[in-house]
């Protein structure tokens, strides 16, 4: 009897939950437009800058804004948050992919619900993506490579701390810097880190100890450059190697000002976020006059121009 009573209770509770379906309200079309942004975990300054760009533009245009970035940079968490947000109901999405390859099913779901999607930073090949705004990573990497060649006079070896192989930007940055430096006659060693700063520090330490000919280290993202800087510092090699990063984070700019790293390649994440919302606002208005692909050129920042960006 007791067992029967329990089963009835469970069934009643299930019934209660399912009865709420009658009162479901997705995100209503009557209210403000709701834009969602998802990117790397907020531990990555680059993603935070994009987020601020999206947020400020939403405020300016009178849209509501929600952050869907996971607490840890893991592809499956981004997918989970996206899936739930799509079910909840959104009017537009700005996505900075953690792993573009994992987003297929989520983008299918967004497409089915008619949610416009703008992708920033890393390219995603999916029919639902209306526009892409990102840095011209390949050209910017070549520029960084030329900078390195110029500053080292092509002497010595280059240690290239790469991001994740298979990540479109990681691959482009690797390609750009490697091809320019190798063409100038430098030997290039590549160590991929999956964007993990502790690996960057580890590999930099290992390689610097094993190879005294390293004259330059390029890191595919600024947090990695800072980790590399720590490695070089602890080995007492900070004045023997030049360190060049990529992103243009505030922390990197400060390190450049302090003379600890030589340069970084500036991206414009805030602008990417703002542009993403601009595209969405055009879509909401039914206009089609936006560019499907916007490639923002990079810019080298070193001591000579760092003050301009340190405001």
């Amino acid at each position: 009897m007791k067992r029967f009573g329990k089963m009835v209770l469970v069934l009643l509770l299930c019934g209660l939950c399912f009865s709420t379906f009658a009162f479901a309200e997705g995100h209503g079309k009557g209210g403000k437009m709701l834009i969602g942004y998802t990117g790397f975990a907020p531990t990555l300054p680059f993603s935070v800058s994009i987020s601020r760009g999206v947020q400020d533009k939403c405020k300016e245009l009178g849209y509501e804004f929600v952050v869907l970035s996971p607490a840890e940079t893991k592809a499956e968490l981004q997918v989970q948050a996206l899936d739930n947000a799509i079910i909840k109901g959104l009017d537009g999405l700005v996505i900075m992919p953690i792993d573009a390859r994992a987003l297929g099913p989520s983008l299918d779901a967004a497409q089915k619900k008619g949610i416009p999607v703008v992708v920033v930073d890393a390219v995603v090949n999916h029919p639902s993506v209306l526009a892409f705004i990102g840095t011209d990573n390949l050209e910017a990497a070549r520029m960084a490579g030329r900078y390195i060649v110029e500053k080292t006079k092509a002497k010595g070896d280059l240690l290239l701390i790469a991001g994740q192989i298979g990540h479109p930007n990681g691959d482009k940055r690797l390609k750009g810097v490697k091809e320019v430096c190798e063409a100038a006659g430098m030997k290039v060693t590549v160590r991929p880190t999956d964007w993990m700063t502790d690996r960057a520090m580890q590999y930099a330490t290992d390689e610097l100890q094993a190879n005294p000919k390293i004259s330059a280290i390029f890191s595919s993202w600024d947090p990695g450059a800072l980790a590399v800087k720590q490695a070089a510092k602890s080995l007492g090699l900070l004045d023997k190697v030049i360190i060049v990063g990529f992103d243009g984070d505030l922390s990197a700019l400060k390190a450049i000002k302090a003379g600890e790293i030589l340069a970084t390649t500036r991206q414009q994440p805030y602008l990417m976020g703002q542009s993403g919302v601009d595209v969405l606002s055009k879509v909401f208005a039914g206009k089609k006059d936006y560019l499907k692909e916007v490639l923002i050129p990079g810019e080298m920042i070193d001591k000579s121009n760092v003050d301009k960006y340190l405001q």
């Binding site: 209660l16 939950c17 709420t20 309200e25 869907l68 970035s69 607490a71 997918v79 079910i87 109901g89």
Partner: protein, 313 residues
């Protein structure tokens, strides 16, 4: 066998009712405060995102009940996924890929179990070591490689609700069958409750313990296969942190961290509690940091409940 069943009921106590009520409470609270929660899509999405964790947690359940602990399941997922990826990009049969994934998991479990029972080194240490070894191996095999875009006939087992749901259901039912209807399962409770008494009663403790780790490893390997299919990529980053997630799900569900009590349906409830919380918080509009705080609180509450129940036994 029926005498054994009565003994078992005495050991287990009430089947996870407080946790089930907690799950309903969570669902009802979110339904009240988040209008968008009230759809069938919400619930099917919870299950979709619960499937892989559920499979791992089934293995963790039996290991924990037997008094063991396996921290290496995260790395087992990683090595499973890179092996699956390697087999698939070499265009070998899908069946081979799946076998590679689950068998490497079982192998890791076998090594774990054997070392633990023969050397007496605590499971925490041994499986922590295996965590490093398997992860390192997965990096050697899979780092710096782009293994993705696998055949549709493979990824279908990870897509949507159907196959992941079926695989999860089969795993739950098999573990349930083992725990409820086999000597192997009954021994798990005995060994977890008091392994000395179990041994003196004639239970082959060491041999059984190894088997539990093999089962746990096999299921972690299967989770790795499912992950590869769902996300259509194979990287060594897979599985980071999942060993703690699985343990959290098992403990929240009502299986004791110290062994001797629990069950796999409780684990299912535990996984659903975690995933319902994560989902509901998105519907309410709270970010991912709140998820971690909430789940941390829930874990502490769950262990407190377990401790109080033990005291009253």
């Amino acid at each position: 066998m029926s005498a054994g069943m009565n003994e078992r009921k005495a050991i287990l106590g009430e089947p996870g009712v407080p946790q089930l009520m907690a799950l309903f409470a969570i669902l009802i609270v979110f339904s009240v405060f988040a209008p968008s929660f009230r759809q069938i899509a919400t619930y099917s999405n919870i299950i979709v995102h619960s499937a892989i964790l559920g499979v791992v947690a089934c293995g963790t359940t039996i290991v924990l009940i037997s008094g063991g602990l396996d921290l290496s399941v995260s790395s087992i997922m990683a090595i499973s996924t890179v092996l699956v990826g390697t087999v698939l990009i070499n265009e070998l049969p899908i069946v081979l890929a799946i076998l590679a994934g689950v068998l490497v998991g079982a192998l890791c479990g076998l090594v774990n179990g054997t070392i633990i029972v023969t050397t007496g080194v605590p499971a925490f240490i041994v499986t922590m070591g295996m965590m490093g070894i398997a992860k390192g191996a997965s990096l050697i095999i899979g780092a710096a490689k782009d293994m993705s875009i696998f055949p549709k006939s493979f990824t279908v087992i990870g897509t949507g609700l159907r196959w992941p749901g079926i695989i999860l259901a089969i795993c739950v039912l098999i573990i349930f069958f083992i725990l409820w209807r086999t000597r192997l399962g009954f021994n798990a409770y005995a060994i977890g409750g008091n392994s000395t008494v179990a041994r003196l009663s004639g239970v082959k403790v060491k041999r059984n313990q190894v088997i539990y780790y093999v089962i746990g490893g096999f299921l972690a390997g299967l989770a790795g296969v499912m992950y590869t299919a769902k996300f259509d990529l194979a990287t060594p980053n897979t599985g980071d942190g999942w060993e703690l997630q699985a343990i959290a799900a098992v403990v929240i569900g009502g299986t004791s961290l110290f062994g001797g009590k629990g069950g796999v349906f409780r684990t299912v409830v535990g996984v659903l509690i975690i995933k319902s919380l994560e989902t509901g918080l998105i519907h309410i509009g709270l970010g991912s940091f709140w998820q971690r705080i909430t789940i941390g609180i829930v874990i502490i509450l769950a262990v407190m409940t377990d401790s109080l129940q033990r005291k009253s036994d």
